[in-house]
Protein backbone atom coordinates (compact mmCIF):
# COMPACT_ATOMS: atom_id res chain seq x y z
CA UNK A 1 0.00 0.00 0.00
CA UNK A 2 1.34 3.34 -0.93
CA UNK A 3 1.11 5.82 1.87
CA UNK A 4 2.88 8.65 0.47
CA UNK A 5 3.98 9.84 -2.90
CA UNK A 6 5.73 12.96 -3.78
CA UNK A 7 7.03 14.21 -7.06
CA UNK A 8 9.36 17.16 -7.23
CA UNK A 9 10.00 19.08 -10.34
CA UNK A 10 12.91 21.45 -10.33
CA UNK A 11 14.52 23.52 -12.94
CA UNK A 12 18.16 23.86 -13.90
CA UNK A 13 17.37 27.10 -15.60
CA UNK A 14 19.94 28.91 -13.51
CA UNK A 15 22.60 26.46 -14.70
CA UNK A 16 21.44 26.91 -18.29
CA UNK A 17 21.56 30.68 -17.90
CA UNK A 18 24.99 30.52 -16.28
CA UNK A 19 26.19 28.35 -19.10
CA UNK A 20 24.69 30.68 -21.68
CA UNK A 21 26.51 33.58 -20.04
CA UNK A 22 29.73 31.58 -19.91
CA UNK A 23 29.42 30.38 -23.48
CA UNK A 24 30.81 33.44 -25.30
CA UNK A 25 33.66 33.59 -22.80
CA UNK A 26 34.40 29.88 -23.26
CA UNK A 27 34.38 30.26 -27.03
CA UNK A 28 36.73 33.21 -26.82
CA UNK A 29 39.12 31.36 -24.50
CA UNK A 30 39.03 28.22 -26.65
CA UNK A 31 39.64 30.29 -29.79
CA UNK A 32 42.61 32.04 -28.24
CA UNK A 33 44.11 28.74 -27.15
CA UNK A 34 43.48 27.17 -30.57
CA UNK A 35 45.25 30.03 -32.28
CA UNK A 36 48.39 29.96 -30.15
CA UNK A 37 51.22 30.31 -32.68
CA UNK A 38 53.50 27.88 -30.83
CA UNK A 39 51.20 24.93 -31.45
CA UNK A 40 51.01 25.61 -35.15
CA UNK A 41 54.67 26.40 -35.76
CA UNK A 42 55.90 22.80 -35.70
CA UNK A 43 52.95 21.59 -37.73
CA UNK A 44 53.33 24.21 -40.46
CA UNK A 45 57.08 23.64 -40.75
CA UNK A 46 56.57 19.91 -41.15
CA UNK A 47 53.85 20.42 -43.74
CA UNK A 48 56.01 22.90 -45.67
CA UNK A 49 58.87 20.43 -45.69
CA UNK A 50 56.64 17.69 -47.10
CA UNK A 51 55.25 20.00 -49.78
CA UNK A 52 58.76 21.07 -50.83
CA UNK A 53 60.17 17.54 -50.83
CA UNK A 54 57.30 16.48 -53.06
CA UNK A 55 58.02 19.27 -55.51
CA UNK A 56 61.81 19.42 -55.49
CA UNK A 57 63.93 17.92 -58.22
CA UNK A 58 66.85 15.88 -56.93
CA UNK A 59 69.27 18.69 -57.76
CA UNK A 60 67.14 21.06 -55.67
CA UNK A 61 66.97 19.03 -52.48
CA UNK A 62 69.64 21.15 -50.81
CA UNK A 63 67.33 24.17 -51.03
CA UNK A 64 64.52 22.60 -49.03
CA UNK A 65 66.01 23.30 -45.60
CA UNK A 66 67.08 26.77 -46.71
CA UNK A 67 63.43 27.55 -47.47
CA UNK A 68 62.19 25.91 -44.25
CA UNK A 69 64.57 28.09 -42.25
CA UNK A 70 62.73 31.18 -43.48
CA UNK A 71 59.43 30.07 -41.94
CA UNK A 72 58.37 32.58 -39.34
CA UNK A 73 55.33 32.30 -37.10
CA UNK A 74 54.09 34.58 -34.36
CA UNK A 75 51.05 36.12 -32.71
CA UNK A 76 48.99 38.51 -34.81
CA UNK A 77 46.17 40.52 -33.20
CA UNK A 78 43.90 37.74 -31.89
CA UNK A 79 45.48 34.94 -33.88
CA UNK A 80 48.80 34.11 -35.44
CA UNK A 81 50.64 34.56 -38.68
CA UNK A 82 52.92 32.21 -40.60
CA UNK A 83 55.26 33.33 -43.33
CA UNK A 84 57.73 31.72 -45.68
CA UNK A 85 59.99 33.94 -47.76
CA UNK A 86 62.40 33.63 -50.65
CA UNK A 87 65.84 32.93 -49.19
CA UNK A 88 67.71 33.37 -52.48
CA UNK A 89 69.40 36.79 -52.66
CA UNK A 90 68.90 38.80 -55.87
CA UNK A 91 71.64 38.76 -58.52
CA UNK A 92 73.76 41.91 -58.31
CA UNK A 93 75.63 43.39 -61.25
CA UNK A 94 78.85 45.38 -61.28
CA UNK A 95 76.84 48.62 -61.50
CA UNK A 96 74.96 47.69 -58.31
CA UNK A 97 78.21 47.10 -56.46
CA UNK A 98 79.66 50.35 -57.82
CA UNK A 99 76.60 52.25 -56.64
CA UNK A 100 76.86 50.59 -53.22
CA UNK A 101 80.54 51.56 -52.97
CA UNK A 102 79.72 55.18 -53.97
CA UNK A 103 76.92 55.45 -51.42
CA UNK A 104 79.04 53.90 -48.72
CA UNK A 105 81.97 56.23 -49.43
CA UNK A 106 79.66 59.23 -49.30
CA UNK A 107 78.15 58.07 -46.02
CA UNK A 108 81.59 57.48 -44.51
CA UNK A 109 82.74 60.93 -45.65
CA UNK A 110 79.73 62.38 -43.87
CA UNK A 111 80.83 60.70 -40.64
CA UNK A 112 78.57 57.66 -40.70
CA UNK A 113 79.67 54.27 -39.34
CA UNK A 114 79.05 51.04 -41.27
CA UNK A 115 76.08 51.47 -43.59
CA UNK A 116 73.53 49.20 -45.22
CA UNK A 117 75.81 49.17 -48.26
CA UNK A 118 78.79 47.73 -46.41
CA UNK A 119 77.47 44.19 -46.80
CA UNK A 120 77.25 44.50 -50.59
CA UNK A 121 80.73 46.03 -50.83
CA UNK A 122 82.20 43.31 -48.60
CA UNK A 123 80.43 40.66 -50.71
CA UNK A 124 82.00 42.11 -53.85
CA UNK A 125 85.47 42.37 -52.28
CA UNK A 126 85.25 38.76 -51.15
CA UNK A 127 84.25 37.60 -54.65
CA UNK A 128 87.22 39.46 -56.17
CA UNK A 129 89.57 37.90 -53.60
CA UNK A 130 88.10 34.50 -54.47
CA UNK A 131 88.69 35.16 -58.16
CA UNK A 132 92.31 36.09 -57.44
CA UNK A 133 92.75 32.94 -55.36
CA UNK A 134 91.04 30.58 -57.80
CA UNK A 135 91.27 31.89 -61.33
CA UNK A 136 93.80 34.71 -61.71
CA UNK A 137 96.85 33.79 -63.74
CA UNK A 138 99.52 34.93 -61.32
CA UNK A 139 103.03 35.89 -62.36
CA UNK A 140 106.18 37.20 -60.72
CA UNK A 141 104.48 40.55 -59.98
CA UNK A 142 102.00 38.82 -57.65
CA UNK A 143 104.45 36.71 -55.68
CA UNK A 144 105.10 39.21 -52.91
CA UNK A 145 101.45 40.10 -52.38
CA UNK A 146 98.67 38.19 -50.65
CA UNK A 147 95.44 37.36 -52.47
CA UNK A 148 93.67 39.87 -50.21
CA UNK A 149 96.03 42.67 -51.22
CA UNK A 150 95.67 41.92 -54.92
CA UNK A 151 91.91 41.52 -54.55
CA UNK A 152 91.57 44.82 -52.66
CA UNK A 153 93.47 46.63 -55.42
CA UNK A 154 91.40 45.07 -58.21
CA UNK A 155 88.18 45.72 -56.27
CA UNK A 156 89.17 49.37 -55.93
CA UNK A 157 89.81 49.59 -59.68
CA UNK A 158 86.52 47.93 -60.57
CA UNK A 159 84.26 50.12 -58.41
CA UNK A 160 86.01 53.46 -58.96
CA UNK A 161 84.62 55.70 -61.73
CA UNK A 162 86.88 55.96 -64.81
CA UNK A 163 87.26 59.70 -64.30
CA UNK A 164 88.96 59.14 -60.93
CA UNK A 165 91.48 56.60 -62.19
CA UNK A 166 94.88 57.47 -63.60
CA UNK A 167 94.79 57.11 -67.38
CA UNK A 168 98.54 57.65 -67.83
CA UNK A 169 100.89 54.67 -67.68
CA UNK A 170 103.64 54.90 -65.04
CA UNK A 171 106.29 54.32 -67.70
CA UNK A 172 107.80 51.38 -65.84
CA UNK A 173 108.63 48.27 -67.80
CA UNK A 174 107.00 45.08 -66.61
CA UNK A 175 109.86 42.66 -65.78
CA UNK A 176 107.69 39.65 -66.70
CA UNK A 177 106.21 40.75 -70.01
CA UNK A 178 108.89 43.26 -70.99
CA UNK A 179 106.04 45.61 -71.92
CA UNK A 180 105.23 48.99 -70.29
CA UNK A 181 102.94 48.70 -67.21
CA UNK A 182 99.27 49.37 -67.85
CA UNK A 183 97.68 52.50 -66.42
CA UNK A 184 94.97 52.13 -63.73
CA UNK A 185 92.27 52.72 -66.34
CA UNK A 186 93.77 50.22 -68.80
CA UNK A 187 94.17 47.64 -66.03
CA UNK A 188 90.51 48.14 -65.05
CA UNK A 189 89.26 47.60 -68.58
CA UNK A 190 91.60 44.64 -69.06
CA UNK A 191 90.37 42.90 -65.88
CA UNK A 192 86.71 43.86 -66.07
CA UNK A 193 85.57 41.08 -68.40
CA UNK A 194 87.10 38.46 -66.10
CA UNK A 195 85.56 39.95 -62.96
CA UNK A 196 82.10 40.46 -64.50
CA UNK A 197 82.14 36.92 -65.81
CA UNK A 198 83.22 35.54 -62.42
CA UNK A 199 80.69 37.40 -60.25
CA UNK A 200 77.86 36.40 -62.62
CA UNK A 201 78.92 32.76 -62.49
CA UNK A 202 79.31 32.88 -58.72
CA UNK A 203 75.86 34.34 -58.17
CA UNK A 204 73.99 32.21 -60.68
CA UNK A 205 75.63 28.88 -59.88
CA UNK A 206 73.61 26.54 -57.70
CA UNK A 207 70.57 28.75 -57.79
CA UNK A 208 66.83 28.24 -58.15
CA UNK A 209 65.02 29.88 -61.05
CA UNK A 210 62.43 32.54 -60.18
CA UNK A 211 59.63 30.31 -61.48
CA UNK A 212 60.67 27.52 -59.17
CA UNK A 213 60.86 29.88 -56.20
CA UNK A 214 57.33 31.13 -56.94
CA UNK A 215 56.12 27.57 -57.41
CA UNK A 216 57.56 26.47 -54.08
CA UNK A 217 56.16 29.41 -52.17
CA UNK A 218 52.71 28.98 -53.74
CA UNK A 219 52.77 25.23 -53.12
CA UNK A 220 53.53 25.70 -49.43
CA UNK A 221 50.86 28.39 -49.14
CA UNK A 222 48.28 26.01 -50.68
CA UNK A 223 49.37 23.14 -48.42
CA UNK A 224 49.14 25.40 -45.35
CA UNK A 225 45.73 26.64 -46.37
CA UNK A 226 44.39 23.08 -46.70
CA UNK A 227 46.02 22.06 -43.41
CA UNK A 228 44.68 24.96 -41.35
CA UNK A 229 41.15 24.57 -42.74
CA UNK A 230 41.22 20.89 -41.90
CA UNK A 231 42.91 21.15 -38.49
CA UNK A 232 41.19 24.19 -37.05
CA UNK A 233 37.68 22.79 -36.35
CA UNK A 234 38.99 19.71 -34.55
CA UNK A 235 41.46 21.68 -32.47
CA UNK A 236 38.82 24.25 -31.57
CA UNK A 237 36.35 21.58 -30.47
CA UNK A 238 39.06 19.97 -28.38
CA UNK A 239 39.95 23.24 -26.65
CA UNK A 240 36.28 24.05 -26.06
CA UNK A 241 35.83 20.69 -24.37
CA UNK A 242 38.83 21.36 -22.14
CA UNK A 243 37.60 24.86 -21.23
CA UNK A 244 34.18 23.53 -20.30
CA UNK A 245 35.60 20.89 -18.02
CA UNK A 246 37.78 23.40 -16.19
CA UNK A 247 36.48 24.70 -12.92
Amino acid sequence: MINFFRMTITSNIQGVLDRAIRRPRDVRTALMRTLMAGDWDKLLRAEAKKALWANAKQAEWSFVDVFINTVLTGPFVTGFFARMSNPIPPILYLEDFAMARGLQTRALNEGSGPTLWSGFVNQFDQMVVDWVANEKKKDARDWEKSDEEIGRWIGYLMLTPDSKLNAKPSGRINPVTGQPDLSELEAKHHLMKHIVNYIQRRQTANRLASDRINEWLLAVLAAWSVLVRREFPGRFREQLKIVRTEL
Binding site: L43, A46, E47, K50, A51, W53, A54, N55, A56, K57, Q58, W61, D211, N214, E215, L218, A219, A222, A223, V226, L227, R230, E231, G234, R235
Partner: protein, 181 residues
Protein backbone atom coordinates in the same frame (compact mmCIF):
# COMPACT_ATOMS: atom_id res chain seq x y z
CA UNK B 1 35.77 -1.07 -60.65
CA UNK B 2 38.24 -3.92 -60.33
CA UNK B 3 38.98 -5.42 -56.91
CA UNK B 4 42.49 -4.68 -55.62
CA UNK B 5 44.93 -7.55 -55.22
CA UNK B 6 47.32 -6.01 -52.66
CA UNK B 7 46.90 -6.83 -48.99
CA UNK B 8 44.49 -4.75 -46.94
CA UNK B 9 45.72 -1.92 -44.71
CA UNK B 10 47.94 -3.50 -42.11
CA UNK B 11 49.04 -2.08 -38.76
CA UNK B 12 52.47 -3.67 -39.14
CA UNK B 13 53.14 -1.86 -42.40
CA UNK B 14 50.72 1.01 -42.26
CA UNK B 15 52.36 3.41 -44.70
CA UNK B 16 53.59 0.74 -47.11
CA UNK B 17 50.28 -1.07 -47.32
CA UNK B 18 48.38 2.16 -47.91
CA UNK B 19 50.79 3.36 -50.59
CA UNK B 20 50.71 -0.01 -52.38
CA UNK B 21 46.93 0.06 -52.46
CA UNK B 22 46.85 3.64 -53.75
CA UNK B 23 49.47 2.76 -56.38
CA UNK B 24 47.45 -0.22 -57.58
CA UNK B 25 44.20 1.72 -57.52
CA UNK B 26 45.46 4.79 -59.40
CA UNK B 27 47.53 2.85 -61.93
CA UNK B 28 44.31 1.16 -63.10
CA UNK B 29 43.18 4.52 -64.40
CA UNK B 30 46.21 6.67 -65.23
CA UNK B 31 47.53 4.51 -68.06
CA UNK B 32 46.57 6.71 -71.00
CA UNK B 33 43.49 4.63 -71.82
CA UNK B 34 39.72 4.88 -71.47
CA UNK B 35 37.93 3.53 -68.42
CA UNK B 36 34.39 3.32 -67.18
CA UNK B 37 33.88 5.61 -64.24
CA UNK B 38 30.84 4.54 -62.24
CA UNK B 39 27.95 4.94 -64.64
CA UNK B 40 30.00 6.96 -67.13
CA UNK B 41 31.52 4.78 -69.83
CA UNK B 42 34.89 5.25 -71.50
CA UNK B 43 36.37 8.27 -69.75
CA UNK B 44 39.79 9.19 -71.16
CA UNK B 45 42.62 9.27 -68.62
CA UNK B 46 46.16 10.54 -69.26
CA UNK B 47 49.19 8.37 -68.52
CA UNK B 48 50.87 9.52 -65.32
CA UNK B 49 53.96 8.69 -63.34
CA UNK B 50 52.80 7.82 -59.80
CA UNK B 51 55.08 8.87 -56.97
CA UNK B 52 54.83 8.66 -53.22
CA UNK B 53 56.14 10.83 -50.37
CA UNK B 54 59.69 12.02 -51.14
CA UNK B 55 60.27 10.13 -54.39
CA UNK B 56 62.31 12.20 -56.82
CA UNK B 57 60.49 13.17 -59.97
CA UNK B 58 62.35 12.34 -63.19
CA UNK B 59 63.24 15.49 -65.07
CA UNK B 60 61.83 16.26 -67.52
CA UNK B 61 58.71 14.32 -66.70
CA UNK B 62 58.49 11.24 -68.87
CA UNK B 63 55.71 11.43 -71.39
CA UNK B 64 54.80 9.09 -74.21
CA UNK B 65 56.63 11.25 -76.75
CA UNK B 66 59.58 11.94 -74.47
CA UNK B 67 58.67 15.62 -74.51
CA UNK B 68 57.25 16.01 -71.04
CA UNK B 69 54.45 14.33 -69.19
CA UNK B 70 52.36 14.08 -66.07
CA UNK B 71 53.33 13.09 -62.55
CA UNK B 72 51.13 12.62 -59.50
CA UNK B 73 52.86 12.64 -56.12
CA UNK B 74 50.96 11.49 -53.06
CA UNK B 75 52.21 13.03 -49.82
CA UNK B 76 50.71 12.35 -46.41
CA UNK B 77 49.74 15.57 -44.70
CA UNK B 78 50.68 16.64 -41.19
CA UNK B 79 48.15 17.21 -38.47
CA UNK B 80 46.38 15.46 -35.68
CA UNK B 81 45.47 11.89 -36.73
CA UNK B 82 42.29 11.20 -34.81
CA UNK B 83 42.02 7.52 -33.84
CA UNK B 84 39.31 5.43 -32.32
CA UNK B 85 38.68 1.73 -31.90
CA UNK B 86 35.69 -0.58 -31.99
CA UNK B 87 35.11 -4.30 -31.50
CA UNK B 88 33.59 -5.85 -34.60
CA UNK B 89 32.77 -9.23 -36.01
CA UNK B 90 35.40 -10.22 -38.56
CA UNK B 91 34.98 -13.61 -40.23
CA UNK B 92 32.83 -14.79 -37.37
CA UNK B 93 35.29 -13.71 -34.68
CA UNK B 94 35.40 -10.62 -32.47
CA UNK B 95 38.28 -8.36 -33.42
CA UNK B 96 39.26 -4.90 -32.28
CA UNK B 97 39.42 -2.56 -35.25
CA UNK B 98 41.27 0.76 -35.33
CA UNK B 99 39.94 3.69 -37.33
CA UNK B 100 42.34 6.51 -38.11
CA UNK B 101 41.54 9.77 -39.87
CA UNK B 102 44.29 10.77 -42.30
CA UNK B 103 44.83 13.42 -44.97
CA UNK B 104 46.84 13.32 -48.17
CA UNK B 105 47.90 15.86 -50.72
CA UNK B 106 48.18 14.86 -54.38
CA UNK B 107 50.60 17.14 -56.24
CA UNK B 108 49.72 16.90 -59.91
CA UNK B 109 52.28 18.39 -62.26
CA UNK B 110 52.93 18.40 -65.96
CA UNK B 111 55.43 19.87 -68.37
CA UNK B 112 56.15 19.83 -72.07
CA UNK B 113 53.65 20.33 -74.87
CA UNK B 114 50.04 20.94 -73.74
CA UNK B 115 51.16 20.82 -70.12
CA UNK B 116 48.20 22.90 -68.93
CA UNK B 117 45.66 20.63 -70.58
CA UNK B 118 47.53 17.57 -69.35
CA UNK B 119 47.67 18.80 -65.76
CA UNK B 120 44.02 19.81 -65.89
CA UNK B 121 42.88 16.44 -67.23
CA UNK B 122 45.12 14.67 -64.70
CA UNK B 123 43.77 16.57 -61.69
CA UNK B 124 40.19 16.40 -62.98
CA UNK B 125 40.53 12.66 -63.53
CA UNK B 126 41.97 12.22 -60.04
CA UNK B 127 39.13 14.20 -58.49
CA UNK B 128 36.61 12.24 -60.55
CA UNK B 129 37.97 8.85 -59.54
CA UNK B 130 38.39 9.66 -55.86
CA UNK B 131 34.93 11.20 -55.52
CA UNK B 132 33.20 8.32 -57.29
CA UNK B 133 31.89 5.92 -54.65
CA UNK B 134 31.41 3.11 -57.15
CA UNK B 135 35.13 3.25 -57.98
CA UNK B 136 36.51 3.86 -54.49
CA UNK B 137 34.57 0.92 -53.11
CA UNK B 138 37.61 -1.20 -54.02
CA UNK B 139 39.73 0.93 -51.68
CA UNK B 140 37.10 0.76 -48.94
CA UNK B 141 37.13 -3.04 -49.12
CA UNK B 142 40.87 -2.92 -48.35
CA UNK B 143 40.60 -0.47 -45.46
CA UNK B 144 40.81 2.99 -47.07
CA UNK B 145 37.34 4.36 -46.61
CA UNK B 146 35.27 7.53 -46.15
CA UNK B 147 37.16 9.43 -48.82
CA UNK B 148 36.51 13.16 -48.93
CA UNK B 149 38.23 14.81 -51.85
CA UNK B 150 38.59 18.53 -52.46
CA UNK B 151 38.44 20.05 -55.93
CA UNK B 152 41.79 20.70 -57.67
CA UNK B 153 43.53 23.99 -56.93
CA UNK B 154 45.78 25.69 -59.44
CA UNK B 155 49.17 26.47 -57.93
CA UNK B 156 51.39 27.40 -60.86
CA UNK B 157 51.05 27.58 -64.61
CA UNK B 158 54.50 28.29 -66.03
CA UNK B 159 57.21 25.84 -67.13
CA UNK B 160 55.80 23.26 -64.76
CA UNK B 161 52.06 23.32 -64.30
CA UNK B 162 51.16 22.37 -60.77
CA UNK B 163 47.83 21.57 -59.13
CA UNK B 164 46.88 20.31 -55.70
CA UNK B 165 44.13 17.82 -54.92
CA UNK B 166 43.68 17.14 -51.22
CA UNK B 167 41.97 14.12 -49.78
CA UNK B 168 40.74 13.14 -46.34
CA UNK B 169 40.20 9.45 -45.57
CA UNK B 170 39.70 7.01 -42.73
CA UNK B 171 41.95 3.98 -42.47
CA UNK B 172 40.43 0.85 -41.03
CA UNK B 173 42.69 -1.93 -39.84
CA UNK B 174 42.65 -4.68 -37.21
CA UNK B 175 44.68 -4.19 -34.05
CA UNK B 176 46.99 -7.16 -34.28
CA UNK B 177 48.05 -7.20 -30.63
CA UNK B 178 44.54 -8.20 -29.69
CA UNK B 179 43.67 -11.86 -29.66
CA UNK B 180 40.31 -12.33 -31.34
CA UNK B 181 37.73 -12.97 -28.63
Amino acid sequence: MRPLTNDAVNANALETSVMKLMQEFLSQYFDGGKHDLGATPQVQFPAAQLLFQQSAVTQPLQGSGGSGGLAITLVSSEGHRRKWTAWENVDGARQEICYEAVAWNFWVRANGANSRALCKSGSDGLFGVLSNKAETHALGAKGICRLKVHAPRVIQETEYVLRLVSLGATLRYPILSQTPA
